[in-house]
Every structure is written in C-alpha cells, then in structure tokens.
Symmetry: C2
Subunit: 438 residues, 2 copies
Amino acid sequence: MSKERDRQPVRIALLGCGTVGGGVLRLLNENRSYLELRVGAPLEVAHVLVRDASKERVRECRAEWVTTDPEVVLGDDRVDVVVEVMGGEQPARRYVERAIRAGKGVVSANKLLIARHGAELIEQAIEHRVDLAFEASVGGGIPVIRTLRESLASDSVSSVHAILNGTCNYILTRMRDTGLAFDAALAEAQRLGYAEADPSLDVDGHDAAQKLVVVSMLAFDAHIDQEALLVEGIRAIDQTDFRFADRFGFTVKHLGIGHDRGDRLELRVHPALVRKASVLAHVDDVLNGVFVQGRALGPCLLVGRGAGDMPTAVSVVADIVDVARSRLEGEPGLSTRSIQLSRRELLPIEDIETRYYLRFDVADHPGVIGTIASVLGNEGISIEQMVQEGRAVDADEGVPVCLITHHTREGAVRRALQAVSTQRFLKAPPRLIRIEDV
Amino acid sequence: MSKERDRQPVRIALLGCGTVGGGVLRLLNENRSYLELRVGAPLEVAHVLVRDASKERVRECRAEWVTTDPEVVLGDDRVDVVVEVMGGEQPARRYVERAIRAGKGVVSANKLLIARHGAELIEQAIEHRVDLAFEASVGGGIPVIRTLRESLASDSVSSVHAILNGTCNYILTRMRDTGLAFDAALAEAQRLGYAEADPSLDVDGHDAAQKLVVVSMLAFDAHIDQEALLVEGIRAIDQTDFRFADRFGFTVKHLGIGHDRGDRLELRVHPALVRKASVLAHVDDVLNGVFVQGRALGPCLLVGRGAGDMPTAVSVVADIVDVARSRLEGEPGLSTRSIQLSRRELLPIEDIETRYYLRFDVADHPGVIGTIASVLGNEGISIEQMVQEGRAVDADEGVPVCLITHHTREGAVRRALQAVSTQRFLKAPPRLIRIEDV
C-alpha cells in the first residue's frame, strides 16, 4: 500500500486575478513547502487568465503566467486544476464547463455560478470524473462546506440559521448599537467599503439568498431553484423595530434559514428577531455566522469573515489542496461523486409556522388595540405580548402598537394583516418580522 | 487517471464500545450507503474489543464482532483501521502503538493519550506510513482539528482562545445567570450528569489543559509538555467576581489560551474576563467554543457540543472516512506526514503581558486604596479603573476593592500582590483574574 508516487507537480491555472486571485498567489507562494507536504507534490502555477494584461498585479504574479487568451489556459492539456476566481455568470460558466469536460479539477469561489448552476456543474463533474470544489463561494474563510461535507458525513442536518451577508450584518449592528437610521448606517458601510455604490444585491437579500442556496445544496442534498425562495432585505427595519425588539428580549439579524420538513424544505431569507441570549445574536459587524443543527451532532456554529480577499483565498487554497490530492491519488472526482442532489419541493410560505413580531402604526384612538386583537383572534392567532408605545401628542399622529405572537401559520398572519389594513386607524402598512428560536 | 478501484471493503476494529463506540456503530449503520459513496468502498466492522462481553451493547453491535481478546483484534491482518474509543492511557497506548506498527490506520478519540503521547504517536505513524486521526479528542463534534489542518492549510495561527471544558462553562454560566455559588452550581452540574462525582479533572482545569495541548499541536505545530502549562481552575471564582466583572463590562469564562510569540509560545489555562460584547462571552452552558485568529483568515470561531456520545461519534466517523479513503487511495499516511511538530519553548508566566482584574478584600479603613494604588505604582502597574464596593457596617468586616489594570507584565503583578499581602488591612489573599481581549 505504500507505493512511492511520482512527484510531478500539480499544475494550476487561475481564471481571474483580482484581490482573491492575488491572495491565492500570495498564499501558494508563502506556504509552498507545507502545501507540497500536504498534497504530496509541488503546486505549480501555469497560467493566470486576466482581462487586462497591463493592470498591475501582486508581486507573486509572474509576468510569464499572465495571458488574456482563454484558449492558452483552457486548451493546455497539462493544466490539472482550474481555479475560477473571476466571478459573474459568463464567461465563468463557459470556462468552468470546458475545464470539466477536459477532465480538469475545478475550484470556484463564485457564489452566483454555484447557486444558479451548481447542480448541473456537479452532474457534469461526476460524469467526467473530476472534482468541483467551492468552499470559497460561501462565507469567505469560514469552513462551511467542508464541515457540512466532511465533518457531518455521518449526520444529517435538520436546520440552518445563517448570517450570510456582512453588509446587512454591519448595518444592523450599527443601527442597534448607535441608533443610526438605515440610510445613515448604509452610507457609513459604503464609506468603509463594506457596501457597494448600488447596495441592492446585499441589502435586499439576494446575495444571502445565493449563499443559502449553496449551503442548502450540501446541508439538505437539495437542488433548489433560487427564484422560489422568499427573500426580504433590511431596508424597512427602523429604530422603532430595534426598540421593541430590545424590549421583548431580541435583536434583529438578517438570516438565511433552512429547515428539513420531511418531504418539503423550508427555505427563506429575511430579517429576523433572535433572542439576545443566543450566540448568533452576538455575531456582529461584518462577521458571518452559520448555525447548523445536526441530528446527531446537535448545534454547531461557525463564525468568521464572510468576505475579504485573504479569508476567501485561504478557502480557495484549501480546495486546491483537496482537488490536487484527489488527482494525484488516482481517484479524482470521488468527493464530488458523493454529492447526490435531488430536487426538493419548497414549503409554500403560507404554510411555514413560526412566531411573529407585528407592528401597527395606528391613530391613538380608544378601541384600536381591541380591534387588532380581535382580527388576530379571528384568524386563530394567539398573542404572547402586546405593547403600545407612549401616547401621541396630537390625535392624528400615529403611535406604534407592537406584539409578538405564539407559534402560528404565516397564512393566518397574512390574512390578519390584510384585514387590519382595511382599518382607517392605520397610519402605515402593518409590519411583520419573523422570530427565530435559534 | 480514472482507473476503477477494487471495491474491497475497508475493515474496521473498535477498541472499546461505551457510549461513543456505540454511537459510532449506530452512525456507521445508519449512513452505510452515503459513507460507501464518500469512501469509495464499503466500511465493514470486523471486531469490537470490550472488557466485559456480557454487558449489553447497542442494537447495532453484532454479537459475532464482540471479543475480550485484544489478540483477536490487533493480530488480524485484515483489519485496515483501528478505532480507539476506550479512553485512558493504558492499554490504549499499547494497542494504538501496536496497530501503527502493524500498518493499520488509527482513529482515536482519546484526549489524554494524544495530549501526553501525540507527538510520539505521530512520529510512529509517519514512520510506518499510516494515518493517525484524532478529531474527536478535542471539542466533541466541533471540527477543530479538521479546520486547523485542512481549512488553514495555507495560513498560520497567531492565537487561540478556547472554551474547552463544558463542565466549567456550565458552572460559570449558572453562577452568572442565577447567582448560584460555585458549590451549588457544581452540585447542579453533577445532578445533571455534566460533572463527575470527583470533579477535579474538569473544574481544576486539567481536562482543558489536555485539550489545549492537542489544539496547540496543530495550531502552532508544537510539541508541548503539558506539565509546563499554567493551569488554574474555577473553584476560587465567586459572586463578588461576577458582580465586578459585570460592572466593568466583562463576564467570566474558563479559557485555554495560546499565542504564537515568535520564538516562544504562550500557553495557559485559567478563568478569564471576556468582554460581554465578544461572541465568546455568549458561548454558554455546556457548549465549547474555539476562537482561532489566523494571519490571513482573520477571526474564526467554532462552537458546538464539546462532549456527548453522538457529537463525538460524528467526529470519529468523519475521521474513519478520511483514514479509509487515504488507505484506498494507495497513499496512506499522507495527512499525518504533513504534521511537522517541533518542540516550542513556553514563555515563562512572569513574562506574559495582559490586563488584570485584581481584588483585595480589605478592612474598611481610610488610606487603604491609597496604599494599594501606590504599591501597584511602585511596580509600574497602571490602573484603568478602581472600585470599592459599599462600606462595611462593622469596621472589622472586609469590603472588596477591585481594579482593572492596563497591559502589564505578570511578573510585576505578582510582585505587587506579594507586597500588598504583607499589609495588615488585608482580610483574605488578593485575587487575580486575567483579562483577555478576544
């Protein structure tokens, strides 16, 4: 069993050389000898595909590697592992598919690509007996994928609650800790480089939704259509919500949530009230956190930087090591072959059951609370706590009435909100934040 | 590269079949087909070595596997992987060494064995080209070892702060949340099965010290003599400490701490004040948490159940998969060969630098605070905050004076405490709790 292997280097091609790609080159260089020990052979960079060859790169990127011609990279039979760190859907998808067809191992850090096409790409990888690794597509340097695949190999996941977007988490943390309004916290995040000029991908929940799809693929062996997910962002959260949340013992976090409900899967992305005593409530600022409940393992929380060039590069290199080892060991694709996805139907949002925080900005008239309570009662919704804040100075001014419900169906809650909406005392559309017991 | 491998099963022998061993058999059985996919061959149990064959075992433990004769197990050449879940130093050590010499892969869940003899066992494993995996020896189901070895393959760890003992964490959590005294909280932990009848291994810090040695082996590539560690338990912590800690913005956690200080390693195990805003401060009850600071990765926290049969069994099976794969792949021992430990000298405790919480139970006389402050000043210790609680009703009764210092050397603090100890106003020996910025 102890045959000596040839020490032929494993040849790597990078597609893209932005901040993550540059980080990968730095780490490969700095940890050369340790990585060779782990892989069992040297790792050698063969090509770095870029769009603009004149752009300055990290010192570790040798000029002779750089090319703008995808043919040079993808047509090179001696390349063993293709590392896609370019992002975006195309041409990344085309390049990755071609690499797979050519029998190369692939490492991708591209959440959009894996969320939209992961299932097909895994199928193609299995067909061509190559590995497709994508730890860096979710949670930056946090070993989410590895933990789900390897540590939990003998377990099954019953639920996932994850803070997957650092921008949302930063904004919500600042709103909670400093009393900033959403817009001001967003502007601050933009100044610090934590949010894009167009923040929609982050603050409207789409980035978190992509990551939840990737996490759920491995947590629930599920092939999920991202379009089917309930996705809500954090734009509507205001200081009144934080004040009431605090009073009820909660804080507000933006979560990606997955529950295995037997034949159905419950997946949703939205702001949620989380008990202040829970660990997840203290995963703050730009940190990400993935809380997994394993049937045998019990609770497991992984926290770290969800973005940033170096944390992401650390994950990419860990994947390169795995894919390179698996090629050398003469059994490439074994890891990927054990991913068996099946289409799982999602639970319709009306059928989910949780607790709810409801807020009604109402005219300060007698009888208002009674009306709200009876509308909820008619839908069978039981109220755990109800608070009206202060009194309006002027009778026409609205005052917030907030309540939290016991466990109930979302369908009933939606019907109740619909019914309250017709009431003339309402000064603004009613608001709903789901409560998660995590 | 895509040669078909023979599908010969990988044969496993269990040494020990207590709760963890039983959990392993259950998980191997329940996840048979998935594990076969991941390994690339079936996993087959060949033997289960027990001390008492008449004892009742889990349903999954077939009678024909059970033997009390170590020779039957260790002398069987067809066994590929030996899984040591018996615990204790001997005969576990002898059996593991024999298995290694016979060229078998070894999985061990034995923290005492790995903490005391890990370095030698790794050396033997490397010599005999076999793998030695021990994820389950630390942190139960938390993927600490895997993360350090695989995810951080291209990174280096600058520090570790870890809650490694669930018993201590439970007791401290209950003391903080309910105001229980140490003895009462310990009694409660014993009633709930979280603490042994003789709790010394846990509450005096020895269990955490063993685990810190194992974590540090992989975090710092260091071969450490456990005897050299500073180890303090939690028996001395009382409600006065919790009250002051809270007032200063901290909570009390029992931590294993490691810092890479260049040529030296700083390792210590003791109760510590941790900022209430830090995530680690909210890893409560019996949960364990390992907070790693990677130079490239940044902060990474892993939280989960640090003990318990099923979480630990999940880690054991993950290791079995790795060791089995590596045998099938014709390159057994590759993972273990990349562990390169070197003896690292420990920083003497006098030379560590941190912030300190100091408490003096003093007679309520004028001038006492002044005296304490000048003794500290003489040692160059700068005080950040100082609080005297209440006034004694009777002048002979002690009142606590608590302070926190700026960063200072432990040597200076110890000299200052020595000097204060000679003062007649002191009603009890002065107390010290280190403050950790984590």
